[in-house]
């Protein structure tokens, strides 16, 4: 089973890399709870008192943030409703788009905004780790492709972290005193663009890039990184993006955009790695939910049998969306409990 972590490590050790005759797996498989010594980070002061916390941006907030509105108004599934009716040109559009009645809106209008909000507390940490998780997903498939000696195919996945994500997380890196690693990522990209001719060098650069991302992840306190509820929020973010990418990979029941197929594969692999880390704890606290999540994830993984696309899609984008939405629904009660 290609997805099993052990196998991943084994494949990895066949690496690039075989050239170097070394048997240590080149990826460090960072779970969120890696043992890299985390630098001190200001732990989120999750003030739960509504009155004092920052308003929620209804255009961008993750479900668990929106759950605060759902809880306040007692409307089931309101968070999903708010997400589904995006975008909002003004907060009043919650009423004009019939998400809320005027009376309901009046109760929460001080809690919402469409202005850019500087995230804080757990929401900020989820945002941070999700972006780094997307980087990890890209690097996972890049690595698989390098092993298969396909540098041209690996190149976009080495490019994406720096082209699409880095600028989005740069402020937070600075704020959290994470050493910049843009230059590291670009060095690897340049090397691969130039044809990845020297396997040993590629390996070294790849390791540096991966290590940089892992160190950025390890900045968060371990307690948070091992907290199942926190990790589930990150998993949902990764799967949500995987879902869109998978949809963008398929045309006329064929995988026509290989890059997007591979992107979605990387995100799902990393999401699954994260799940494995919290599964034991989840099995103790919420055995039923855990079993269901596991079942859905297991089915979901079959969609990406290998880094090279199957001749025919294993599942349609609609089926993939359904599985991912299932996982999201399963985690909602847990994440709500905690907010």
């Amino acid at each position: 089973m290609i997805f099993s972590r052990r196998l991943w490590a084994v494949t990895a050790s066949l690496a690039l890399l075989a050239a170097c005759g070394e048997a240590t797996p080149p990826t460090s498989n960072t779970p969120l709870s890696s043992s890299t010594s985390p630098a001190a980070s200001p732990m989120a002061n999750n003030s739960h008192s509504m009155g004092h916390s920052k308003p929620i941006n209804i255009n961008n907030a993750i479900l668990s943030e929106l759950d605060k509105l759902e809880a306040k108004l007692g409307i089931p599934a309101l968070s999903n409703q708010i997400q589904a009716s995006r975008p909002y040109g003004s907060t009043e559009e919650l009423v004009s788009k019939k998400v809320l009645t005027q009376a309901q809106f009046d109760q929460i209008k001080d809690m919402v905004t469409i202005e850019d909000v500087v995230l804080e507390g757990e929401a900020k940490d989820v945002d941070y780790i999700t972006k780094l998780g997307l980087m990890k997903g890209h690097l996972i498939v890049a690595h698989e492709l390098l092993i298969l000696n396909k540098p041209a195919q690996a190149e976009p996945h080495i490019g994406h972290p720096v082209e699409e994500i880095y600028a989005d997380v740069e402020d937070q890196l600075t704020e959290r005193n994470v050493p910049e690693f843009k230059t590291t990522l670009i060095r690897l990209q340049d090397l691969v663009k130039a044809g990845a001719k020297d396997p040993a060098k590629v390996k070294t650069e790849f390791q540096s890039s991966l290590k940089s991302v892992d160190q950025a992840i390890a900045i968060l306190p371990e307690t948070e990184r091992q907290n199942p509820v926190f990790v589930l929020k990150v998993i949902n973010g990764l799967l949500d993006t995987a879902n869109s990418e998978y949809g963008a990979a398929i045309a006329n029941n064929k995988i026509s955009a290989l890059i997007e197929y591979q992107d979605s594969r990387g995100f799902v692999i990393y999401a699954e790695e994260l799940y494995q880390e919290i599964a034991p704890a989840l099995a103790k606290t919420d055995p039923k939910v855990n079993a269901e999540i596991k079942k859905n994830l297991t089915t979901l993984k079959t969609v990406w049998p290998s880094v090279e696309a199957p001749a025919k899609p294993v599942k349609s984008p609609t089926e993939v969306t359904a599985l991912i939405k299932n996982i999201e629904k399963l985690t909602t009660p847990l994440t709500q409990k905690s907010s």
Binding site: N59, N60, Q83, R86, P87, Y88, G89, I114, K131, P156, G159, H160, E163, E164, I165, A167, D168, D240, T241, S244, E245, G247, A248, A249, I250, A251, N252, S256, A257, L258, I259, E260, D263, S264
Partner: protein, 332 residues
């Protein structure tokens, strides 16, 4: 003071099509009437032949796109007028010809994205919602603040609201500015942004042509090209224009991977308003070479009825889909 009719009720395209299919209205003239493009000039001076029926209602329909301008919605906020547009990045499959389909990244389901139109000095707001997986952005050409420059990625499932003043007047463009920009543009994330001068240009049959390329096999070369999204569409669906009617063509080259395209109009010459930033034409020619992102206003009228081709004179590009024709209808 420019009388703003844009904020009045405007029919959506579907309603409009239903009416015009009912034959009650000639499509172009009445459309212009709704748009209120010409503020005081008599619109009856502009003769636009009806489009051939039936019109297919797909999001990407070059004949509809041609003369369709999105003026947004005008709002008053704290005494300030805001012209608000909504743009949603999506992915969808576009059938380029009978053999080739392409997964596009697009705005509001169409390639090219909607032609946004405003008047110099308008306050513009674009509510950009990314639902397309990758991070995307909207980078507008024109003068605005750095934070509105569309360089910062907007992550999947999030919203960014761009707000700036429309300046200077001219033919501008917007496109996604996430690297590799070549891929983000050629997969469909681009469109035209017209900023009208304070005093409107004289009445004319106004239309938009955008040259684009498709890299269908990810080899960093274009396999197919198109005017307004669909290869060779205007060859089989010629654009009807009226004999001796002044045509104002807003032309943009959005072809990635090829250095330049030399737009050529058959059996005629056109006046050139470079980048649409002049009120008087600079010169007259029948070929104009444009690098990627170059755009101009071209004006011409046809003396003789019949069919006349237009295409870039890099003929390989033309023959791979970047060609079309006008059907000049005799004045009755």
């Amino acid at each position: 003071m420019f009388l703003d009719k844009f904020s009045l009720f405007r029919p959506n395209r579907r309603q409009f099509l239903q009416w015009s299919m009912g034959g009650a209205l000639g499509i172009g003239g009445s459309w212009l009437a709704w748009q209120g493009v010409q503020s005081h000039a008599s619109r009856s001076e502009v003769a636009i032949p009806p489009l051939p029926q039936p019109i297919s209602p797909e999001a990407t329909n070059p004949l509809i796109f041609l003369r369709h301008f999105d003026y947004g919605t005008v709002k008053e906020e704290n005494g300030q007028r805001i012209r608000e547009f909504r743009a949603e990045a999506r992915t969808s499959t576009l059938q380029l010809n009978t053999a080739v389909s392409q997964v596009t990244w697009n705005l509001n389901g169409q390639v090219p994205g909607p032609t946004l139109r405003a008047k110099e000095g308008d306050r513009i707001r674009v509510i950009f919602y990314n639902r397309a997986g990758h991070s995307h952005s909207l980078h507008f050409h024109g003068i605005h603040e750095a934070e509105m420059d569309g360089i910062k990625p907007v992550r999947n499932n999030s919203v960014f609201i761009y707000e700036f003043n429309a300046q200077p007047y001219g033919v501008h463009l917007y496109h996604c500015h996430i690297a590799p920009v070549t891929r983000h543009i050629s997969k469909g994330l681009y469109g035209m942004f017209i900023v009208d001068p304070p005093d409107p240009r004289p009445p004319a049959d106004e239309m938009v042509l955008i040259m684009g390329g498709y890299d269908t096999n990810e080899d960093h070369k274009n396999e197919l090209y198109a005017f307004n999204g669909l290869p060779s569409y205007y060859m089989s669906h010629p654009i009807p224009i009226q004999q001796e009617q002044l045509v104002r063509l807003y032309l943009l080259n959005m072809i990635e991977y090829d250095l330049a395209a030399t737009f050529h109009l058959h059996a005629n010459f056109f006046e050139v308003y470079p980048t649409g930033m002049t009120l008087n034409p600079s010169y007259k020619t029948d070929v104009i070479t444009m690098g990627t992102a170059e755009r101009h206003i071209l004006e011409f009228a046809y003396r003789h009825p019949g069919r006349y081709m237009f295409h870039p004179h890099q003929d390989a590009i033309a023959e791979a889909g970047c060609m079309g024709q006008f059907e000049v209808i005799e004045k009755s």
